[in-house]
C-alpha cells in the first residue's frame, strides 16, 4: 500500500533531517545495551583472572580477519553514501551489495569459528567466559544480519533511484556495528 509521508516527517526544526536524527537516537539506545553487556563482562573479567585461559583458546587470526572484513565493508558503505550524495542510485546500490557481501563473509567465517569451538567442547555453558563470548558476539552477529537484511531493501530502492537518503542512514548504523566489533575483538580475543 502506498504511503504518504505526513508533513511532520518533512519538517526540520533542528535543521537535521529527521531520519538522521532518529538513527542517532537508535544508536544511543544500542550503545547502552552493548554498554551494559560489556560493562558486566569487564567487571567479571577483572574478578576472574582465570578466564584468561579460556580467552587464550579463541582464534585471534580468525578474529583479525573478520575485523578486516567488517572494516572493509564499512568502507564500501561510505562509498555507497558518496554515490548516493551524487544522486547515483545504481552505483550506491552496487556498493551496498558489496557491504552485504562483507556481512555475509563475516557471518560465514563466524559460523565456521563457532562450529570448531563448539565441537571442541567450548559451548556457551562451558564457563563464564564462553557464556559472555557467545552472548556478546551473538548479539553483535544478530545486528550484522539485521543490518544486512535492511540494507538489501535499501539497495533495491536505491537501484530504482528511490529514498537515496536512506543509504546514509544505514551507513551510520553500519559504522556502529563496526565500532561494537572494534570493542569486542580486543575484549574477547586479544586480552589474555
Amino acid at each position: 500500500m502506498a504511503f504518504a509521508k505526513p508533513l511532520a516527517t518533512l519538517r526540520s526544526s533542528t535543521g537535521i533531517p529527521t531520519g538522521r536524527l532518529a538513527i542517532w537516537w537508535v544508536l544511543a539506545s544500542e550503545v547502552v545495551i552493548f554498554g551494559g553487556l560489556l560493562g558486566s563482562y569487564l567487571m567479571f573479567r577483572l574478578g576472574h583472572p582465570e578466564w584468561a585461559d579460556a580467552a587464550a583458546v579463541t582464534n585471534v587470526w580468525i578474529g583479525a580477519f573478520n575485523t578486516f572484513v567488517l572494516l572493509t565493508s564499512s568502507f564500501t558503505a561510505v562509498l555507497g553514501h558518496q554515490a548516493a550524495e551524487r544522486g547515483d542510485g545504481k552505483q550506491a546500490a552496487k556498493f551496498l551489495f558489496m557491504t552485504i557481501g562483507g556481512a555475509a563473509t563475516f557471518i560465514m567465517v563466524k559460523s565456521y569459528e563457532w562450529t570448531t569451538e563448539i565441537l571442541h567442547g567450548y559451548t556457551i555453558t562451558a564457563n563464564g567466559f564462553w557464556a559472555f563470548y557467545y552472548t556478546a558476539a551473538g548479539l553483535h552477529a544478530m545486528h550484522v544480519i539485521a543490518g544486512a537484511v535492511i540494507m538489501g531493501f535499501i539497495a533495491v530502492d536505491a537501484w530504482r533511484g528511490r529514498e537515496l537518503q536512506r543509504v546514509e542512514l544505514i551507513g551510520i548504523y553500519w559504522h556502529f556495528v563496526d565500532v561494537v566489533w572494534i570493542f569486542l575483538f580486543p575484549l574477547l580475543y586479544i586480552a589474555k
Binding site: 511532520a8 532518529a22 551494559g36
Partner: protein, 570 residues
C-alpha cells in the same frame, strides 16, 4: 470517527493513492497518531482491570486467609506468587507506561506542537503491534503448565533463573519475553516522540513555547532509552540462564546474582521517573489551565526535571542496601538518593507557586491534579526513610516499602491518568464528561486509596514482610490488631474498585450523549484546543497552525479574555 474529514484529507493529499484501511481495519491498522493513542489507552485500561482484579484476589487472601475468593476461588501459594508478580509487572509495564507515555504521548505531542502526525507513523503502528504481542504473550503465560511467573516483578535470580525454585519454567520465560517485547515497543515509540518534538514543531514554536507535558514525556522517553539498555542485556543473560543453563547469575559457576539487581535497578529506578514525569507534566498543564495563571518558572521546571533525570541514574543501589553491597557504597547511594528529593521538592513548590494567587476552578481534572500533588508528597516523604540506609535496613521488604511505592505509583499511574483523561476527554471524544459523576468518582477513589495504604504503612512499621502468602503461619504477625488493619485495607480496596464503575458509566454515557464540547471547552491556550473535537485525520484540515507565544499566557493584564491561544497573532 470523522469519516468525512478523513475522505476530505485523502482527496486533498492522497488522491493519487489507494485509500487507507476501511471498516474495522481503520481501527487496528491505522497509522494516525490519535488512533494509535486510543489503542494504547484502551489496551492499558483493559490491563488495568486485570491488574486490579489480581490485587482484589490477593488482598482477599491476605485479609481472609483460605477464603474462596468470589469470582476466583481458593488461592494456592503458587497462584498467589503469580498474582503478586504479575500485578506489579502489569501495573508498571502494561498500564503506567502505555497509558502515560504511549497513549498521552501519541495523542498530545503532535497536537500540542502543531503537527499533522508523528514523524514515523508506520513505526508508531509497529510499536503498538509489538506492544499488543507482548500483552498476548503475558496473558498466555497464565495458561501454560505451571502457570504464570511467580518470582516477583523484580525477577531476582536465582529464584527467577532456576525452574526448580520458581516452579514456573515456561511462565518465567514467557514473562521475560513479554517484558523484552514491551521494551522494544517503547524504544520504537520513544524514538518517534523524541524526533517528533525535536523536528516537527509548528513554525514559530521555540523550545520554550512547548507545553511542559510534551517536554516531560520526551524527557521520560530519553530516560527510558538510556536506562533500559543494560536491563535488555541482563534479560538476555537471564533468558540464557533459564533456557540454556548458562551461569551468569549462578555464583557456583562464577556468576553473580547481584549483577541482575544492579542491571535491574539501574533501569528500575529511572523507570519511576519515566512514569513520574508525564504525570507531573499533565498536572502542571491542568493546574495552569484551571488556576488561570502562568506556570511559575517554566524554565526552572524544565531544568529541574532534566536534573532529576540525570540524578536518577545514580541512586539505583538504594534498592540493594541489604543485598550485600559494600557499606561505603551504601553511603554514597544514601547521599544521592536524599539529594534527589531536592529537585522533586522544587517541582512541588513550583506547582504551589503556580496555584498561589490564581483564580482556581475546581473542575474534576483540577481535583485530580491537586490530589496528585498531595498524595505524591506522602510517597516522597516516606521515601526518605527508605533512602537512608540506616532506616532501610529495618524497613527493607516490609509493607512500609510497599505502601511507599504505591503512594508514588498510584498518584502517577491512576490519579495522573484520570487527571489527563478527564481533561482531554472533550478533545478525544468531542463531548464533556459529567462533572458530578466525575467528582463522585474522584472522592470515591482518593479516600479509599488512603485507607488501603495507611494501614499498610502501620503494618510495615510493625514488621510485616512482603510476599507472604498467609500470615497465620507467622504467629507474631497474626495478631488480631494486624488482621484488623489488613481487613481495613482490603475492604477499602473493594470500595475503591466499586467506585470505578461510576467512572465507566460516566465514560459511556458522556461519550454517547454528553454535552458537545466544541473546540475549546476549558478556554485553554495550547494548540490542541484550536482544532475540532475530536480532531480529524491530519489534525488541522484547513492548514497547520503557527505559534506566536508560550503555552501558559493566562490572565494577561492587557487582554479582556483571561487566556491567549498560542496560535493567535499578537
Amino acid at each position: 470517527m470523522a469519516d468525512t474529514a478523513i475522505s476530505v484529507h485523502h482527496d486533498e493529499h492522497h488522491a493519487h493513492e489507494h485509500h487507507g484501511p476501511q471498516g474495522i481495519l481503520k481501527y487496528v491498522w491505522s497509522t494516525d497518531h490519535k488512533m494509535i493513542a486510543m489503542q494504547y489507552l484502551f489496551t492499558g485500561m483493559f490491563m488495568a482491570v486485570i491488574g486490579a482484579f489480581m490485587a482484589y484476589v490477593f488482598r482477599m487472601q491476605l485479609a481472609f486467609p483460605g477464603i474462596s475468593v468470589p469470582g476466583y476461588g481458593q488461592v494456592s501459594p503458587g497462584e498467589y506468587n503469580a498474582l503478586v508478580t504479575n500485578h506489579g509487572s502489569i501495573m508498571i509495564f502494561w498500564v503506567a507506561m502505555p497509558v502515560l507515555i504511549a497513549a498521552f504521548g501519541n495523542y498530545l505531542i503532535p497536537l500540542m506542537i502543531g503537527a499533522d502526525d508523528m514523524v514515523f507513523p508506520r513505526i508508531n503502528r509497529l510499536s503498538y503491534q509489538i506492544f499488543l504481542l507482548s500483552v498476548l504473550i503475558l496473558l498466555a503465560s497464565f495458561f501454560v503448565p505451571g502457570g504464570g511467573f511467580g518470582g516477583a516483578w523484580t525477577a531476582y535470580p536465582p529464584l527467577s533463573a532456576v525452574g526448580e525454585y520458581n516452579q514456573t519454567n515456561l511462565g518465567s520465560s514467557l514473562w521475560l519475553l513479554a517484558v523484552a517485547l514491551e521494551f522494544v515497543a517503547f524504544l520504537l515509540g520513544g524514538i518517534n516522540f523524541i524526533t517528533t518534538l525535536m523536528n516537527s514543531r509548528a513554525p514559530g514554536m521555540k523550545a520554550y513555547d512547548i507545553p511542559l507535558v510534551c517536554w516531560f514525556i520526551v524527557i521520560a522517553s530519553i530516560l527510558f532509552m538510556l536506562s533500559v539498555g543494560p536491563l535488555i542485556a541482563g534479560a538476555v543473560m537471564l533468558f540464557f540462564d533459564q533456557a540454556l543453563g548458562t551461569g551468569f547469575y549462578d555464583p557456583a559457576r562464577g556468576g553473580d546474582p547481584i549483577l541482575w539487581q544492579h542491571l535491574f535497578w539501574f533501569f528500575g529506578h529511572p523507570e519511576v521517573y519515566v512514569v513520574l514525569f508525564p504525570a507531573i507534566g499533565i498536572t502542571i498543564d491542568v493546574i495552569a489551565t484551571f488556576a488561570r495563571k502562568k506556570v511559575f518558572g517554566y524554565k526552572l521546571m524544565l531544568y529541574t526535571t532534566v536534573a532529576t533525570g540525570v540524578l536518577s541514574f545514580f541512586v539505583w543501589a538504594h534498592h540493594q542496601f541489604i543485598a550485600g553491597i559494600d557499606p561505603r557504597m551504601a553511603n554514597i547511594f544514601t547521599i544521592t538518593t536524599l539529594l534527589i528529593s531536592v529537585p522533586i521538592a522544587e517541582l512541588c513548590f513550583v506547582i504551589i507557586a503556580t496555584l498561589y494567587g490564581g483564580s482556581i476552578r475546581f473542575t474534576t481534572p483540577m481535583l485530580w491534579a491537586l490530589a496528585f500533588m498531595a498524595e505524591f508528597l506522602i510517597g516522597g516523604v516516606t521515601g526518605i526513610f527508605l533512602g537512608a540506609s540506616g532506616a532501610d535496613i529495618y524497613f527493607h521488604d516490609t509493607y512500609f516499602v510497599l505502601a511507599h511505592f504505591h503512594y508514588t505509583f498510584f498518584p502517577i499511574a491512576i490519579i495522573g491518568t484520570f487527571a489527563a483523561f478527564t481533561y482531554w476527554f472533550p478533545k478525544m471524544f468531542g463531548r464533556m464528561m459529567n462533572d458530578t459523576l466525575g467528582k463522585i468518582h474522584f472522592w470515591g477513589t482518593v479516600i479509599p486509596f488512603n485507607f488501603i495504604f495507611i494501614p499498610l504503612f502501620v503494618l510495615g512499621i510493625g514488621g510485616q514482610h512482603r510476599r507472604i502468602y498467609n500470615y497465620q503461619h507467622f504467629p507474631e504477625l497474626a495478631g488480631e490488631g494486624m488482621y484488623t488493619l489488613r481487613e481495613i485495607a482490603t475492604v477499602s480496596l473493594l470500595v475503591m474498585l466499586a467506585f470505578q464503575f461510576v467512572f465507566f458509566y460516566n465514560c459511556i454515557t458522556s461519550w454517547r450523549k454528553g454535552k458537545k464540547a466544541g473546540k475549546n471547552p476549558w478556554n485553554a491556550n495550547t494548540l490542541e484546543w484550536t482544532t475540532e473535537s475530536p480532531p480529524p485525520h491530519g489534525n488541522w484540515p484547513e492548514g497547520l497552525p503557527n505559534v506566536y507565544r508560550g503555552p501558559y499566557e493566562y490572565g494577561h493584564p492587557d487582554r479582556d479574555e483571561d487566556y491567549w491561544p498560542q496560535n493567535q497573532p499578537a
